[in-house]
Every structure is written in C-alpha cells, then in structure tokens.
Symmetry: C2
Subunit: 417 residues, 2 copies
C-alpha cells in the first residue's frame, strides 16, 4: 500500500525543487518525481499536499540528554568549562533509571519537534552512585532506548567507555572520583562484556576521551566496535591537550591514531584545538568531525578548524551536545558563523554542505545509511519548514533559507516513516 | 481610568519577581506591587492575568530596515564584508519611498512580534538614484516614520550624514560613487539644513563613519545633534581602521574624540577593532557601545571587546542591524557567547546586565528615558515570554531563561502603552 505526497518545495540531492512527488511504502521512499508541475506528471497525490520546504529528517550526532537540565541555570555562573563540569556532575549524581527515562523522553520530544529524527546518545552514566552496577548493568542504557521509543526518535546508543579521572605526567591514569564512579566499568574488557550483554543492535561504541580512557585500553573498544560507529570527544579544551602531551608526548589525535581507532567510521566530537598534523590525520582517515557549535560557545571551548578539516578529507556532522540549545538550524549556521568570526572572511561552508552535515552525513556517522536523503530506498523521514513565519518569509525559499533564516520554531511538521 | 494587570512573573529592577501587580493609566505605569501573593495585596486585577515571564519592551538600537531583503540570499556568497556591501547596494539602488515604506512596515512588524518596542533606524537612503533630492527632501525618512506608526513601534530616526566614498592617504575624501549618491547631502551644512527642515521630534543624528564623513564636517553634525542621541559606526572592519590611520594618523575613535562627538549621548555601533586607548576614550566619555553580534558574525567583522568597554565605563546596547536575524534574545546571549569564544572563559556578562542593554540602556541611547523598566512613571511597554515552549520549559524561569533559553519565537504577547 503506497501513498504519494506532493511537496511544494523539497531538498533533493542538495537542490531545492518545486512540486516534488514522493511515494512511500512501508516507511520507505519508492519513487521521487522532481518538478512534477512542469513535467506534467501526476499532481493528484493519494496523500497530503505539503506546503513549505521539506528537507530530510536531521541527525543529532552528539547528545548528553541529561545536560538539558542545566539550560538557563549554568549560564549564570562565571568560570570555565571545568566549573561548568562540577554543576553537570551534580545533575548526573541524582539521576535514577526512572528519572533519567522521564527527562530523556522530554529531551527527545524536543528534538523531534525541532526536526531531528535520529540521535546519537553519548552515554556514560551507567552505574549506581557508588559505582555498583544495577541488577541489569545496562538498565540506564535501556532507559534511554525506551525514552527514544516513547518519543518516536531513532537512536544510536553510543555506549561510552570511561575509566579514569585523568592522566598524570607519567601517563598513569587517575582513579575515577565522585560521580565518575557511575561512569566506570573498571577496564575496557569489563566495558566490552557489558555492552556485549546489552544485546541490542542500536548500541554503538564510544571512547569518552584521552583523559578518561588510557591508551592501552583503546584497542579493546575499537575491536568490539569494529564495523560500528565509534565516537570520541577530541581536543575540546586546551588543558586536555596539555595533559595528554605531558603524559604521552602526543596530541589526543595522535593517541587515537596510534591506538588504531581513527577510521572512516569514527566520529571525533568537537575537534576544537588541533594541530595541522592532527587535521591531516583525521582527514586522511576520512573520519567524521562532529561539531557542536552552540555548546562550544556556551562552554567557551573555542572555534575548531571546520574548513581545514573538510579540505583535509574529514566529513562534518553536528550535535546539540549539552542542549543549551536544541536547534540544528542554529548549529548549521553557527559552523559558518564561527569560521567567519575566526577568519574575518565569509562563505566557508555553503548551505548545501551544511545540510549534508545535518542530514545524510550525520545519519551515516550513526550507522544509519538509509536516512538523510529524499531518494528512492531511503526512509521516509521528512521535516517541513514553514516558509511564512517572521523569520522565513521573503528569504528566497532555497537551501539558504533552511540554513541561514530558519529556526527550530519554524518546523511545521516532522514525518517519520 | 487605570487598569491593574497581574503578571505571573516579571523582571523588576533586574530581578524576576512572582505575582507582580502593575497599574497603568494613559499608557504609563502608576503603581507596581512586587510579590503580591506573599504580601497579601490585592490579587483581583481589573485587567488581565498574564502568565509567563514579563520583561520591559526591548530597544533595537541599530537597524537598516532595507537589509532585511538580503536574508537568506547574501549568505550564499563567499567573500568579505565588502562583497556583501555590493549586494546591499543593489537593494538600496532599487528602493522608492513607496517600496521602502512597504518593506519597513514588515520589518518593524517582525520586530514588534519579537518583543521590540523601539527601534533606532540608521537612515542614509535619502535621495533619488542620481542624488537629486525628492520634492520633499525628507520623503524617504517620512516613509520610515510612517512605517513605524503603521507597525506600532516607537522610532528614533537617526538621520545619517554620509558625504564621501572614503579617504585617501592625504585625508582627502573621495566623492560618493554609484548608489552612494543617494546618501549624500553634499556637506554637513546641507545635511543639517535638511534635518532641520524635517521638523519631527523623532529625528536624531548619525555620522555614518569616519570613511563617509570627513573630520572637518563632524562638528556641524555634533552641533545640530546637541542634547540628542548621536550614533556612528565605529571600527567595524580592519580596512576602515587602516584607511583612517593612513589618512589622519589617528584611529577612528580618536578622530571622533578630537571632533568632539564622543559624549554620553553618543552610541558607537560595532566598536569591533579597538585599541586599548580607544576603549579608554569611549569609556571615559561614558558613551554607549552598540553591539550587533548576529550581524557582526554574519559579516565576518570579528568580536569586539564588550567586556573591556564595560569595565572602562561604556554602556552596552544592542541592535539587529542587517536583520540576518531579528531576535534580541539571540543578540543578548551572543554578546556573552562571542566573549567566551574569544577568551575561552565563561561569565563575562550576567543575564541581568544583558537585559539592561536590551531594555533601559537601549531605550536611553535612543533618547527614550521613559522606557525599559517596569517602574512607576515608565511607559507600559511589556513583553511576555511563554515559559512553556520547548525552549523555555524547565529552565528556571529567571533572568537566565530570558537571556540563555528564550528566542523571538517564544514571545507570546507584546504590550504597548
């Protein structure tokens, strides 16, 4: 049983087309007819006539759902990333599987309403307060999967290995402290056993960072995650780079490369403070660089070299991370805006390139190759932007309207399968 | 005949209070009772019960209304501020009093809907295409005043002196070129005569910039504008500083200071590329620094020293300038976010300080001392933020919610008088 929708304007392979007929069967696109009006094709669809500009569902590739609770609160503080982290830890300390489920349902609903149809949840809040596993050691992770089901959003649960509080100058790791005990499985083998027992094909792997995972543990994670998405925070803060250099005589990117975890399935989250050699390593691997610019400005991380990474061969993806803002339109334009602030030149990223990051490159970095395009064989995940709001009206209606004029509040419909 | 409104939450003197009763008579606040619920005061208002968080109406201190037409269009281009300016000039070239009126009505309505109750329109599009004045030489300005009336927004028309295309290295000005002929009155005396003939007390003065007004002409403008708001673009681009230094051996701020136009009624728009001496000059004058961060990132201007300016004694105000975005909530937080990106530290501006910039300091910089506070004797201009949208829900409801969580789309009501 197929249904054909008539989309007034739709983004097809990077170009906005008028009068696009999309046929959907069992949640999958089976036919796309561009410019139906001028080609004389059938214009009486069996399904809805959809006004506005329809784009593929977007992928939010880096989420810590519980950080949403800090919005409007942490921003009152002076200080640094590190003082922010203390507040974030206080929230983490209080959560139970039930309360985390309830919180995550709301966060994922907010994502859905903003046009996000898939999320990569970077999940490290595994155990009870003193570090003891729950009866089911994956109870927290299952709460997040259930929340995603409840909110009707696709999820890749990036189960995150977090073993250490940091490194000393001899490269020895420091034991997890305080709430970090909730994060740690003890070693990578125990982490691998736990995620193996999870037995859910929505689970992917993550290495928290070079400060939280000793380098001799990384291979185990890469081995378990082979063929799956593997995500890792990279060089978000200068202090993290300094610690890594002091401990290993290597940059964080070099540590990951030497440990064999830089592949084309790897997503490097933030990638803010990189050397030119780091950029080349990441580009040569064809890895994803997951930028989270609204968080990176909120946390005073700095501006990463997004343009250099693309030119080196990396693929851009986007995440709302701490959820100070949940609006991938804002993330898209912030990548370009931050480059403009850093370089005093305009036009580093085209709207089409930024939409690729928010859609098919994003989905692919989560292991979802079947989403992010309006094309035959893809999932029927669509997001419609109202072109008659205060923000979008009279802005041309092209890809630039989506990237440089629209906000999450301008999403009128989200279609899912 | 007075009416009393019960505001669920309201920003009174920088603090969010619950259950605030505000009595209004002839559009002016005649009584404010804070925390009415706990004090046992009258809680059956004659007017509406207003849910959400109510703040004073906001002032948009720097607007070029016609730039709105570039939204979603100019962002497609690579290049610099200067290539953007070519596009902007093409729009400027086409406008007539009628078409500018229609465009401005929509722009001012968009402002109103976003919580802006007063606008400073930096107006230099005075004459016909070849530079000939209209029959009424103030016809374009009158079109803007009429547009503001139609949109029910208060306006300060900052009638802008623009005489030259730039300076050569001997400090000689170059004649206006192309569309710039629409801007120029020939000399400052002719400008002063025209604005004198305007005969409307909503008219204030502006000096376009050091590149467009030779320094020997500035005194005339300052003289006409004495006791009125006087605005000027300052050091938005490095090239403008270089040209000024080459022509005069002075920075733009030094030129303005020497010409006697730096006073506590002066607003310096952008103030991006300043020397420490410039910052001290501006601070010592107690002038306003009008930041337009969403434009400053869109145009790749850079990040101005907002914190240094405040510490030196300047007062911050905000403008949406090119209208790539019309959202003073975004402008407020962008000031802080840009400082974070530049310094890698958080907490330069508190939410209360940013709200002061968006409200009473902004209104005062436009010469409207009677607006921007919920206080006795002030105009009854209120903006209510819905605290139950995806963005604002569960964010504390304090000043930080307004600054760090809300957007223009979360404004539920705008009250005017």
């Amino acid at each position: 049983m197929s249904t054909t929708y008539a989309l007034e304007h739709a983004l097809v392979e990077g170009v906005v087309r008028d009068g696009v007929l999309v046929t959907v069967e069992d949640g999958v696109i089976t036919d796309v007819v561009e410019d139906s009006t001028s080609s004389g094709a059938e214009v009486n669809p069996s399904g809805a006539q959809v006004g506005g500009l329809t784009i593929p569902g977007m992928a939010n590739c880096h989420s810590h759902a519980f950080h949403r609770r800090l919005r409007g609160r942490t921003q009152a503080e002076r200080g640094s990333f590190w003082t922010w982290r203390e507040q974030m830890y206080r929230v983490a300390d209080e959560l139970t599987p039930d309360s985390y489920y309830s919180l995550a349902v709301e966060v994922y609903r907010e994502m859905r309403a903003s046009g996000i149809t898939a999320v990569g949840e970077f999940h490290y809040l595994h155990h009870q307060s003193d570090g003891t596993p729950y009866d089911d050691p994956n109870e927290m992770g299952r709460a997040l999967l259930a929340a995603a089901d409840e909110a009707d959003i696709r999820i890749r649960l990036l189960d995150t290995c977090y073993l250490a509080a940091g490194l000393d100058s001899q490269g020895r790791s420091r034991e997890p402290e305080g709430v970090q005990r909730r994060f740690s499985d003890g070693d990578a083998d125990a982490w691998a056993q736990r995620v193996e027992d999870f037995d859910d094909d929505r689970v992917g792997a993550a290495i928290h960072s070079v400060r939280a995972v000793p380098r001799d543990q990384m291979g185990t994670i890469a081995q378990w995650g082979k063929g799956k998405p593997l995500h890792a925070h990279l060089s978000e803060q200068v202090a993290e780079n300094d610690e890594c250099m002091s401990a290993y005589g290597l940059t964080p990117a070099q540590v990951l490369a030497e440990a064999g975890v830089l592949t084309e399935l790897t997503s490097l989250v933030h990638a803010t403070h990189l050397t030119p050699d780091d950029v080349a390593l990441i580009g040569d691997a064809g890895a994803y660089a997951c930028f989270c610019p609204t968080t990176e400005r909120d946390l005073a991380d700095g501006i990463g070299p997004s343009g250099d990474l693309r030119r080196a061969g990396a693929k851009l993806t986007l995440g709302s991370d701490s959820h100070a803002v949940i609006d991938l339109f804002e993330e898209m334009r912030a990548v370009e805006m931050h480059e403009r602030l850093a370089t005093q030149q305009r036009g580093h990223w085209s709207a089409t390139e930024l939409l690729a990051a928010a859609t098919y490159d994003g989905h692919a970095s989560l292991g979802f190759e079947d989403a992010g395009r309006i094309a035959v064989g893809q999932r029927a995940d669509f997001v419609t932007i109202d072109l008659d709001t205060w923000r979008t009206r009279d802005t041309g209606g092209g890809a630039e309207t989506a990237v440089f004029a629209a906000t999450a509040a301008d999403v009128s419909e989200v279609w899912h399968g």
